[in-house]
């Protein structure tokens, strides 16, 4: 039996930069009878991974250890956080020196990392813990005829054997969730590619190019809207909206939580959607 209470881990970026993801996620989960618990957690460690592996793993492990103390699986709507938490757990499992160091540090706070602390991404919770059938049953306003391009993020998908979200080369989870709300999932070749956000600050030109490639591809495949399930991906697509406002109309990006919320018949403001942003 899947748990219906999770320790909510929104990560660092959602609150200041993408509050609608938080609002919409809470709204849909609550509508689907999932309870979220809250406690103060720290950075997942992803940004630090470029700089210092040990520090990034310690940060991730602390979150995991807190979740273990609270006795709940972690649930994160951010794919980077998800990927990092899984990666850290993988390395901790692999590398005894790292594990000893991390647990040595955690001990001071009465925490302990071990192998079996569950981490779930929002998509897995929806597709597996709640179940596609349950979602279908709750959909009151199916998004009929809407052509949606599922934008898988990278860090939740790869390396596949570490993050274990879905088949890393031929995933289906997102498309299944899109069809479950009555929309049509379009096939597009670049669906598994990077949105460009990780190098947004370092190399904006290249970052935008990466995204432009994807958008063109999705557009060519007939998509009307891009669906994301990652803080960073959505931020990236929003960035472009800010940079090139005219493009918005051609291919907007929406968080899957928002699409699901619409299908569940939740009011716009509870999904962080302005009235004009309906799809």
């Amino acid at each position: 039996m899947a748990p219906n209470t999770y320790l909510y881990f929104p990560g660092c970026k959602i609150t200041p930069f993408l509050p609608q993801y938080d609002t919409a996620t809470r709204a849909v989960l609550s509508a689907l009878d999932v309870r979220l618990d809250h406690t103060e957690l720290n950075c997942c460690g992803y940004p630090m991974r470029h700089q210092n592996l040990a520090a990034s793993v310690l940060a991730a492990a602390r979150n995991l250890a807190i979740a273990d103390r609270e006795g709940m699986p972690l649930l994160t709507p951010c794919q980077c956080c998800y990927g990092q938490l899984k990666q850290a757990a993988y390395w901790l499992g692999e590398n005894a020196a790292l594990r000893d160091f991390v647990n040595g540090q955690l001990k001071a706070e009465g925490l302990l990392w071990h192998r079996d602390i569950p981490v779930r991404h929002l998509l897995s919770v929806l597709a597996e813990d709640i179940g596609l059938a349950a979602i279908r049953a709750r959909v009151s306003r199916p998004l009929k005829g809407l052509q949606v391009a599922a934008h898988y993020g990278c860090h939740a998908l790869r390396p596949g054997h570490v993050v274990q979200l879905d088949n890393p080369l031929a995933p289906t989870i997102f498309e299944n969730l899109i069809t479950a709300i009555g929309a049509t999932a379009v096939e597009w070749p670049l669906r598994l590619e990077c949105c460009g956000n990780p190098i947004w600050e370092k190399n904006p030109t290249l970052s935008l190019k990466l995204m432009a490639r994807k958008r063109e591809d999705a557009h060519a495949a007939g998509a009307q809207v891009l669906a994301t399930a990652c803080t960073y991906c959505q931020l990236q697509f929003d960035t472009v909206r800010d940079a090139h406002p005219t493009e918005t109309e051609s291919l907007p990006a929406r968080l899957y939580s928002q699409l699901l919320g619409l299908a569940l018949g939740l009011p716009h403001d509870s999904l962080g959607l302005a009235g004009s942003e309906a799809v």
């Binding site: 720290n42 470029h50 700089q51 210092n52 520090a55 940060a59 790292l98 706070e109 990278c154 790869r158």
Partner: protein, 556 residues
Amino acid sequence: MLTSNVATIALGICLAGTAWRISRWFRSDIGSESDGLSTGRRLAAYGRALPRILAHPRFWPRTRIFLWEIVLQGHLLQQNRLRWAMHMAMCYGVLLLVLLHALDDWTAPVFFADYYPTLNPFRWLRNFFAFLVLAGVLGTAIRHRTHTRFKRIRSNADRLILLLLAVIIVSGILLESSQILSVSVFEEMVEDYMGDDDPDEVAALRHYWATEMGAALPVRADERMDDGAAGQMAHEAYCASCHSRPQTAFLSYPISRLLKPVAGMMDALRIDNWLWTLHYLASCLALACLPFSKFFHLLATPVNLLARAAGPVSDGPRTLRAARRALGLDACTHCGVCTEHCSVAPFFQVIPNPSILPSEKLLGVKRLAATRAPDVEMALLAEGSFTCTLCGRCTRWCPSGIDLQDLWQASRRDLIQQGFPPFYEQDAATASSVPRASASTLPGHPPLSLGLTDRPETFWACVQCTTCTSVCPVVAASDDPRRDLDLTPQQIMNLMRLQLKEKAFGCRMLWDCVTCYQCQEHCPQNVKVADVLYELRNEACRRAMLSPQAIAAESS
């Protein structure tokens, strides 16, 4: 009088310092927002803005909330009642002591017609306020030693301030104690107020003060004949209008009982005078220090809380942003709440650079605003600064209402200007002009890497099929990878295989990698391409914080 001169000087320093501090709000420039704007123009801009702020329809309703926050410290109350109590005790203890004791000449007549410091309830109140402050100081000191995850970060300035406060209060209490005991003071008073009246009456009074008022007067056997009524009458006639019973001084009186055995000696040395001087000078010192220490927050914090009514700093006009940031810096009490809630604080456990923690980083930003010296300290500040994820939690929790999020973003711009770019832009070319620090490499640290790049087995299985390069979205998005990226992923792997790791540092692919793991996922031979690139980044960062000599020593 020397003492009044001292007070005047202290007050002068205080006022000048305050003016100077306030002027800094309009002189310092954080975030390069006021580039090209003179202090005068900025002041004028503020002057123009102020009426608008005050007239803003949302200002006054909001200000009520802030008054609640300022007066009652509601923010802190919500977070931690014990801390709130301590801070309130200190804050209001000091404020009321200043108001009702230090400035009694001016304040007391406003409330009371016949004020005298040795009268009740003032006597009791003074003790009570002192008690509050002492309890706050003591509690804070204990808390500093036991209660925080990041004990090391307390600065000496913080400790000195607590010490100064303690000295003022303790000296005040001891002064009162010694005055209660002092025979000399009694004699002087009798001299002044009774003249050479009836010696019996004096004796009765003496007896009364010795038994009832706690003075350390020797009581002779013959005086015991008296039933004390005469003493009481004399007391009421001459003293009671100015002297309440000292027992209400619930701190000083018990201490005076303890000191009674040495009262004679104390009196002989006129310890009371010395204590008075100490108390007075310490208070003057505190007054003089006020604008130069975190005491200044007594002024800056309320102003900042009021200023926040105008919304986030970045929403305000450009001309005002730098001033609000400088005000924010002054409003910091270094209370450490931000650090307790900091999302990236765990990194500090691995990289012992205090600038990772917001409360400490703020000190660095203060320094940045003041000096702009491109030194090791600034390198450390940069390392800490670019570690922040801008989650905004510090801003949400800050009891002083500082827009920390905005400060971090603004100071990053300054750091970049000063030649301290984020780690991913620190390569060999820029690094030479920049002083290095070594915080990342303090001894006793865990291994930084999984050691992939140094193990030949990592690359054994490579069959040179170029798949990693072919699937790389960064390569794909580039019109000319060699021009844009220097090396392709496969070429970096081959450099590692050829044990030419050095050559990979400084290549743009390293930092343009989006870490999407396509290469690693698609590698038919399971070479950990992306993990290797990560490891190289880690190594590049580590080197960016090393001196060239240290790097040379390592590679030899």
